[in-house]
């Protein structure tokens, strides 16, 4: 599935998500409409529980909405089919999580290989790791890597399959600012060099400066959308 530049890579319409916790119903999303364009870098900002992660999980095919629709490159995502969602994740989506989620028993290279082994057109794990500046750490286990290095392995793992979408949930949340900047630089480089549509969740308003577009979340809705006239480089940021 090829998506042209400037076209909407991903469209979400009227997404609702209700969690049932015992007798209580919690609305995590209350009707979200949003488009993501090819090669765009979008930052999602908002307090805890505002629905950012829920949206990202649904867009990535990890979770299903209570109602509403998601179209990926003009095809609706069939949330009813476990198999179809799996294929979608396998072929089109890369994830980066706050806590890296590396497999402790696999080396950096093997963690990346975990994905390249099942992807359709992956890059070699070493290339992916080179993209995030870890060429010299290929055979280290997660326990032997710093937090920033671990997160960069996670990014390499996410982009090694050349995904159409890169979804990052608080990728710098567990890192200090210096390391966080290295990670953001890696994400930005992927976004630019591979043209990967990227969505990035953060609590940190400063980080929004690197985005093309910023979505503000509150109480399960997008309350504001802002386009950055100029994207700042991560190196210029400090927090």
């Amino acid at each position: 599935m090829e998506i042209e530049d400037g076209a909407a890579a991903l469209e979400a319409r009227d997404l609702m998500k209700v969690y049932r916790m015992g007798a209580v119903e919690v609305s995590a999303l209350r009707g979200v409409d949003v488009d993501f364009y090819k090669a765009e870098l979008v930052v999602l900002l908002g307090p805890s529980g505002s629905g950012k992660s829920t949206l990202l999980n649904i867009l990535g095919g990890l979770d299903t909405p209570t109602s509403g629709q998601v179209r990926f490159g003009n095809h609706p995502l069939s949330f009813g089919s476990e198999r179809a969602l799996n294929q979608y994740r396998r072929n089109h989506v890369g994830f980066v999580f706050q806590f890296y989620n590396l497999i402790a028993s696999l080396t950096a290279r093997e963690n990346v290989a975990l994905v390249t082994e099942i992807a359709r057109d992956p890059m070699p794990p070493a290339d992916a790791l080179a993209l995030v500046g870890l060429s010299d750490r290929l055979d280290h286990f997660p326990a032997q890597l710093s937090g920033g290095e671990q997160q960069r392995v996670a990014i390499a793992r996410a982009i090694a399959k050349r995904p159409d979408l890169l979804l990052c949930d608080e990728p710098t949340g567990a890192l200090d600012s210096k390391t966080g900047i290295l990670v953001l630089e890696a994400i930005l480089r992927i976004n630019r060099e591979l043209g990967t549509t990227t969505a990035l969740i953060t609590h940190n308003a400063v980080i929004a400066e690197i985005a093309n577009r910023v979505l503000y979340f509150a109480d399960g809705r997008i309350v504001e959308t802002r386009c950055n006239a100029t994207q700042r480089a991560p190196g210029e940021l400090s927090w």
Binding site: N57, G60, L62, D63, E82, R83, N86, Q87, R89, R90, N91, F95, F97, F99, N101, I103, S105, L106, E110, N111, A113, L114, V115, E117, I118, A119, R157
Partner: protein, 786 residues
């Protein structure tokens, strides 16, 4: 190799001790199964081959004296293929350098041509030359017991006449795979031997010219054994026939078959116990693993791995544990099986041993063991499959502990750490119960194994010490008038003498019939009375039948019923008699009558067929020497010798088996305890680290960790005792035969020993695993998200 497989391998390595503990439990189950199945296979195959090669007969019969020409009539019975007549007598042997008289069966070999049936397998030397009447072939075990070899000679008393016989060969016979003396219980190779002589010489010695007193018959395929038995009885009845019987009732074969049947029993229950525990352990470990790896499972799914790939990944882990267990178990089982079969050949004498286990035993064992392990992991693997990716990426919500009624009631007093222990147990009662159950199973297996010692002690004590008081029992070759008993009383060294009468008989009630001899004892018998295992010595009422519980069960009779007795000896009288008393005994299924009454019903005068003797220990050797020379004695049995062989035979085997079972039971308790503790550590590392930071000492957190398994171990003791009792009960009933009832006796010390063995293995696990708490990384534990 894929990255997932690499992860699997590293996982296996990381958890190697835990997994090995489970694999060893699986291995124990597999080993027991392989051992039982291959032993059964080997015994059955060896027996079948031996019987076939030596043409073991299908029907046997004994009589007093049958003219040889009746042989033809026997051959004409429909279905009979071959008939071989022979002389089968008893003799007393005097073996140089051996104090006690030795009892022997003397059996004739055909004078012309080879044996048609029950052919001997010559082990050394050669068969006898029919023209040389002093030549004899002896049974190999007897020769070994006395170090006799071809060229040696022995002295035998054949019908009162002393003869010197030259041994020309040693042999084994399919009729004596399990060779026991008449009236004996266990093979006693030093005191019982079998001699084979030329027919001519033997018929001369026993005055049986042109006659026979024993016949063996083989049948055509499909022939009816019971019909042949009936017809044979009709032919032999006028000649003192004492009832023909089929192969299944042939003493040696009967023992062999019931041994195989017992092995089959054993093969059903024991492996089941181990495999059930193995299933529980794989469940425990896999459930925990899936919990710890929730995020990795979610991640794999987020990366696009399918549910089945993820499920299969965890399934493979169990497959690896199971396969390790099966491989270890199969190797050990094959070795145990070979050893076990060889152990059998000490008591069951085969000329060859076919231990060549086929693939079936291994395939069956492997399938059962793997199925058990995989079944145990099924729920955990399924959970991994079902876990939705988004759900898996969130940490599990903390377990909701509740203040249940019981916890409120019981936990008002104890301190916080104890409260933590109790709350955890009540939070996961199923897991706690299964842990206790696993440990209880280990104690139960030990109890069941140790029970044999208690049972055998009780059996021997009841039968040989409380039930009998004679030193020796003599059987005459002909009936002796009671007056003759006086002659024995007057022998130097004899303290007292008690006559008895034995008659072969068939006892029936309705359509049920049992071949069971009747023992006549004096009304006030003291040396060898009717003895009930719980009531002790019973006075025998004049004129009624006293029946053992086993025989009563087989014939479905109660006190007051009338049974029909058909005597198979002497005048072959038939009469009805009332059952006046029932009694319990551990050995055989005997029936007793007052001797005078039995003699009258048999149509004989005041006669005895044997004597019980008490002797003065000081004069023992002199008396033994005299007895060897007294004519008319067919056999002598010594009570002490019976006790000795009983313990020799049982002791050796039983202790080795007990050793095995204790080792197996320890793999159970170690498997359960080690895994429980390791899982508790991995689940609670963060909790323990927090407590350490709060100022708890290592010993205090050790208490929280080990207190739980300790409490479950204490619970396992009464549970294990109850299950052990049930298992022991099951074993004793499964092993009940017409010959033996193993009493269900469990000394308190047996429970104690089992509990101590279990406690010891749990303590070792605790000591080994507790050290991990010392290495707890406090900072790292707190940094981890979960």
């Amino acid at each position: 190799m894929t990255s997932l497989d690499r992860k699997l391998l590293r996982q296996l390595w990381k958890m190697r001790f835990q997994l090995l503990a489970i694999a060893l439990v699986i291995a124990s189950g597999t080993a027991l199964l392989v051992m039982s199945l291959t032993t059964i296979e080997a015994l059955e195959e060896t027996t079948a081959a031996y019987y076939e090669r030596t043409r073991f007969a299908d029907v046997f019969a004994h009589a007093k004296r049958v003219p040889e020409y009746r042989k033809r009539e026997i051959g004409e019975i429909a279905g009979v293929r071959l008939v071989e007549t022979r002389i089968d007598e008893r003799a007393i042997l005097n073996v140089a350098g051996y104090l006690e008289p030795v009892v022997a069966r003397v059996i004739s070999l055909p004078d012309n041509g080879p044996q048609l049936l029950n052919a001997l397998v010559i082990r050394s030397g050669r068969l006898v030359d029919p023209t040389r009447g002093h030549e004899v072939v002896v049974s190999e075990p007897f020769a070994e017991a006395h170090r006799l070899k071809p060229g040696d000679s022995i002295e035998a008393i054949l019908r009162g006449r002393k003869r010197t016989l030259e041994i020309v060969g040693t042999a084994l016979s399919p009729e004596f795979v399990y060779a026991i003396a008449p009236g004996g219980l266990m093979p006693d190779d030093a005191r019982f031997g079998i001699l084979w002589m030329g027919r001519d010489a033997l018929s001369a010695a026993f005055d049986l010219k042109a006659s026979f007193n024993s016949v063996a018959v083989s049948l055509l395929p499909g022939a009816d054994v019971s019909d042949t038995v009936r017809r044979l009885d009709n032919i032999l009845a006028p000649y003192g026939g004492i009832g023909a019987y089929g192969r299944e009732d042939q003493t040696s074969n009967w023992f062999l078959e019931s041994e195989i049947a017992q092995q089959k029993n054993l093969s059903r229950v024991m492996p089941a116990i181990f495999l059930a525990v193995a299933a529980f352990l794989t469940n425990l470990v896999m459930a925990r693993l899936v919990d710890t790896e929730r995020r990795e499972i979610g991640l794999l799914k987020a990366l696009g791995y399918t549910n089945w790939t993820v499920g299969w990944h965890y399934f493979k882990l169990v497959l690896a544990i199971g396969t390790t267990g099966v491989v270890i178990g199969s190797l050990a089982g094959a070795w145990f099986g070979h050893w076990n079969t060889e152990l059998y050949t000490k008591f069951y004498r085969f000329p060859f041993l076919l231990y060549r286990p086929g693939p079936v035993a291994f395939i069956v064992s492997a399938t059962i063991s793997l199925t058990a392990a995989l079944a145990g992991s099924l729920t955990a693997s399924y959970r991994a499959v079902r876990l939705p990716p988004a759900e898996a990426m969130r940490p599990p919500s903390p377990p909701s502990y509740r203040r249940l009624f019981t916890t409120r009631f019981a936990f008002s007093g104890p301190d916080e750490p104890t409260r933590m222990i109790l709350r955890r147990i009540t939070r996961w009662p199923g897991r706690a119960l299964l842990t206790s159950f696993g440990l209880a199973m280990s104690a139960a297996v030990t109890i069941m194994a140790l029970q044999w010692v208690d049972a055998i002690d009780t059996l021997a004590e009841t039968v040989f010490e409380r039930g009998q008081h004679q030193d020796a029992t003599i059987a005459f070759d002909e009936l002796h008038p009671l007056k003759a008993v006086r002659d024995f009383e007057n022998l130097p060294g004899v303290l007292s003498v008690e006559p008895h009468r034995y008659l072969s008989a068939r006892i029936s009630r309705g359509h049920l019939t049992e071949r069971q001899g009747i023992i006549g004892v004096p009304e006030s018998a003291i040396l060898s009375p009717v003895f009930d295992v719980s009531r002790g010595r019973l006075q025998i009422p004049a004129g009624g039948l006293v029946v053992s519980r086993k025989l009563a069960e087989l014939l479905r009779i109660q006190i007051g019923d009338t049974v029909v007795v058909q005597l198979l000896e002497g005048h072959r009288a038939s009469f009805s008699v009332r059952v006046v008393q029932l009694f319990e005994t551990y050995i055989g299924k005997p029936a007793y009558m007052e001797m005078g009454a039995l003699n009258r019903l048999a149509g004989d005068g005041r006669v005895a067929s044997g004597l019980h003797i008490r002797m003065d220990a000081a004069d023992r050797s002199g008396l033994l020497a005299r007895l060897k020379g007294i004519p008319g004695i067919a056999s002598i049995q010594f009570r002490q010798a019976a006790i000795d062989t009983f313990f020799d035979t049982m002791g050796e085997t039983i202790f080795i088996f007990i050793g095995f079972f204790i080792a197996f039971s320890m793999t159970l308790s170690v498997g359960v305890a080690y895994n429980s503790i390791r899982i508790a550590i991995s689940e609670r590392a963060q909790e323990f680290a927090t407590l350490r930071i709060l100022g708890f000492t290592r010993w205090e957190i050790s208490y929280i960790l080990l207190g739980e398994v300790g409490l479950l171990t204490w619970l396992a003791i009464p549970l294990g005792a109850a299950i052990g009792l049930a298992l022991a009960w099951w074993m004793t009933s499964a092993f009940e035969t017409e010959l033996y009832r193993v009493p269900l006796v469990l000394q308190n010390s047996t429970y104690g020993k089992a509990a101590l063995i279990m406690l010891a293995s749990v303590l070792v696990c605790a000591a080994v695993t507790r050290r991990r708490l010392d290495r707890l990384d406090l900072i790292a534990a707190l940094k981890t998200r979960e």
